[in-house]
């Protein structure tokens, strides 16, 4: 159907922990040179899926072909062509940036130049610093540098920007886009919708161990079939409001006391909403409108927010 070379083919991958199935037979392909996002709420199975792909867990069923090698039979070959940055892993605090990169490079038959890698990851002034003294963003860039020491084709990043401040996140986005420009294939998981929108060429949404959607970010939003969202609260709470009666509303959602109406015709819906509120003597508060986002797609599909408060 398309001219893309498929560098990762996931086939019916299953992982069970006792009676609980963390991953229930997912299938997808990743094209060479794209940034592929894996999204889902906590416990959706993203990390488990990723860990099976990089050889940290054995799948109970199914397999995947990565860079031409089967993960169940040729995991050593697979590890040579992939680089991984894992969630919540740490490295030896007492070594310096340069030392740890040389150490990890020594694990592989092929290496890149460590000094240019340090430049590229914007760690030049931290070259001789101990890992202990790095900031969160610097540590995360180092973790990505460690994934790149052997010049892999495919890079797996598990929640690379979780816990970083906005500036450090932007810096990391630039690095990911730079890697894409250099022709690397990137598979990442994230909690942030804006991040997925900016970085990813295609997004797979996982929920309860299953893949429930896979498309480009813009097409996913389009499939929601609603362009806009209207958000508001009622100052005097009333349970008897039938918001579906508001004109143009395709879907109603309530999070705590905030209502979200999805519509294709913002003007009609707004007019109708205000009229209804006036008729029933309800006071609207915090009224705002916005275009529908991936987050809305996500809530629409899973019934849950990505990040639960």
């Amino acid at each position: 159907m398309d001219s893309h070379e498929e560098i990762i083919q996931v086939m019916n991958l299953v992982k069970k922990y006792g009676d609980f199935s963390a991953v229930k037979g997912i299938e997808f392909q990743v094209h060479k040179g794209e940034v592929f996002g894996l999204l889902g709420p906590n416990g959706a199975g993203k990390t488990t899926a990723l860990e099976m792909l990089v050889g940290l867990r054995k799948p109970d069923q199914g397999t995947a072909i990565i860079g031409g090698f089967d993960i169940t039979r040729e995991i050593k070959k697979v590890k040579e062509v992939i680089g991984v940055q894992l969630q919540s892993t740490s490295i030896f605090d007492l070594l310096t940036v340069e030392e740890i990169l040389h150490l990890y490079a020594s694990f592989y038959p092929k290496q890149v130049s460590i000094s240019s890698l340090i430049e590229e990851m914007q760690l030049a002034d931290k070259r001789k610093s101990r890992i202990k003294s790095l900031s969160g963003g610097q540590k995360q860039r180092l973790a990505i540098a460690l994934a790149l020491v052997h010049d892999p084709w495919i890079i797996f990043l598990d929640e690379p920007t979780t816990g970083l401040d906005p500036q450090a996140r932007r810096m990391l986005w630039d690095i990911i886009l730079l890697l894409k420009k250099k022709g690397k294939t990137i598979v990442l998981t994230t909690h942030y919708m804006d991040e997925a929108h900016v970085l990813c060429d295609r997004i797979a949404i996982m929920n309860q161990g299953e893949l429930i959607a896979l498309d480009t970010p813009s097409r996913l939003v389009k499939n929601l079939q609603s362009d806009s969202a209207v958000e508001f609260r009622f100052e005097n709470e009333s349970n008897e409001v039938e918001l579906h009666e508001v004109e143009g509303v395709k879907q109603v959602r309530k999070q705590k006391d905030v209502y979200v109406l999805y519509t294709d015709d913002l003007q009609i819906t707004l007019t109708s909403l205000i009229q209804m509120a006036a008729d029933r003597q309800l006071k609207l508060a915090d009224l705002q409108t916005r275009t529908a986002t991936l987050e809305d797609v996500f809530i629409h599909m899973t019934g849950r927010r990505l990040r639960e408060e």
Binding site: G55, K79, L86, T89, S90, F92, L103, F107
Partner: protein, 366 residues
């Protein structure tokens, strides 16, 4: 191979940069050695004071006192009356009391004519039997010497005393090899268990598992780095022992180092088992402590194994620390060869192989 060297180097760097751990793992054995060595290091651990009451005040009694004082093993205290002397004995301030009764001089002068010897009363405290026995032996020898001298006795047969090892061993000679063995045990068993469990908890091992690094390379590098560290630490302890107490290594260094290596490997293997069993790094320390603490006291580190009660002997005899400390002791004190320590080497080797087999089953990367 590059991965092996890089990992060994990294591990050594981590050891060296972890100043506090480095300091305390060395400070503790040295501190223990200096303290125990200073208190008990010289002599045989028994101090003897003998109270003497001289009621005769004659030439002969004076001569007896001089002979007694010449003996360096005892401390002679002159007492005024029998009662004060016996009170001191009861309080264990002195271990023996010798009374020289009035008429001792006269009694000795008549002795030539008589066949029954003159009786000299000697009191001892039954609650401190070891010291009293040694003291009685010494006093007996002195009295024997005096009476032989008086009668002009010429011995027909005499003992020619030859110690098998012809060495003058003190407690410190016993202690230092024990301390080295203790250090090897705690640094490796407790050290490996704690470190591996912590690395696993923090995901360091998992991250390495994501690379093409082989587990065997990782473990080999761990072993090498720890051998280097242990070797240096053992040398420092031996150096301090030599400087302060003049303890020396009489046997071959090759044998000594062989046993340091064997001990390190055996205890590391046990450490790997503990790391495998421990669910969290917090539980690794108590488990290691549970094993190392009894070994410290039962394994012949501070006290000879033969002093242990009979029912503990079978347990004590299979402890790896017992054989390590014994082998180090024989090498350092007596100069035993590696071949003569075959049993020790075999038992430590058995622990090493057995523990590594168990460790390979219990070991988990995550």
């Amino acid at each position: 191979m590059r991965a092996y060297w890089q990992l060994t180097l990294s591990q050594l760097r981590i050891f060296l940069r972890n100043r506090q751990v480095l300091f305390w793992t060395l400070a503790f054995p040295i501190f223990l050695m200096v303290i125990m060595g200073s208190f008990l290091g010289n002599g045989n651990g028994i101090s003897l004071s003998i109270g003497v009451v001289d009621l005769d005040q004659s030439f002969q009694s004076d001569e007896f006192l001089t002979t007694l004082m010449k003996n360096k093993a005892i401390d002679v205290q002159l007492e005024k009356s029998k009662n004060t002397a016996l009170n001191k004995l009861k309080k264990d301030n002195v271990q023996l009391v010798v009374i020289i009764p009035k008429g001792y001089d006269a009694g000795l002068s008549e002795i030539q004519a008589k066949t029954t010897p003159y009786k000299l009363p000697v009191y001892f405290n039954e609650t401190n039997i070891t010291a009293s026995q040694v003291g009685l032996q010494i006093v007996n020898n002195i009295i024997d010497g005096i009476s032989k001298d008086k009668v002009g006795y010429q011995p027909l047969v005499a003992m020619d005393v030859k110690g098998v090892e012809t060495l003058n061993l003190k407690y410190i000679d016993f202690l230092v090899p024990g301390i080295v063995a203790m250090m090897i045990m705690s640094n490796n068993m407790n050290g490996v268990a704690g470190q591996i469990a912590a690395w696993r908890e923090r995901g360091i091992l998992r991250r390495m598992q994501g690379t093409t690094l082989k587990a065997s390379t990782f473990i080999a590098a761990q072993i090498t780095a720890r051998l280097v560290l242990n070797g240096i630490q053992a040398l420092i302890v031996l150096g301090v022992a030599n400087l302060i107490f003049g303890v020396e290594v009489r046997g071959s260094w090759v044998t000594l180092i062989s046993f340091v290596i064997l001990g390190t490997l055996a205890f590391m293997a046990i450490g790997f088992i503990i790391a495998g069993i421990a669910k969290t790094p917090e539980s690794a320390a108590p488990i290691a402590g549970f094993l190392s603490f009894p070994m410290l006291f039962l394994g012949g580190v501070f006290f000879p194994i033969k002093d242990m009660p009979e029912f503990l002997q079978p347990i004590v005899q299979i402890l790896p620390i017992a054989h390590l400390s014994h082998a180090l002791r024989e090498t350092m004190n007596v100069g035993a060869s590696f071949l003569s320590l075959g049993t020790e080497a075999l038992i430590l080797g058995g622990w090493l192989v057995g523990a590594f087999i168990i460790a390979s089953y219990t070991f988990k990367w995550e």
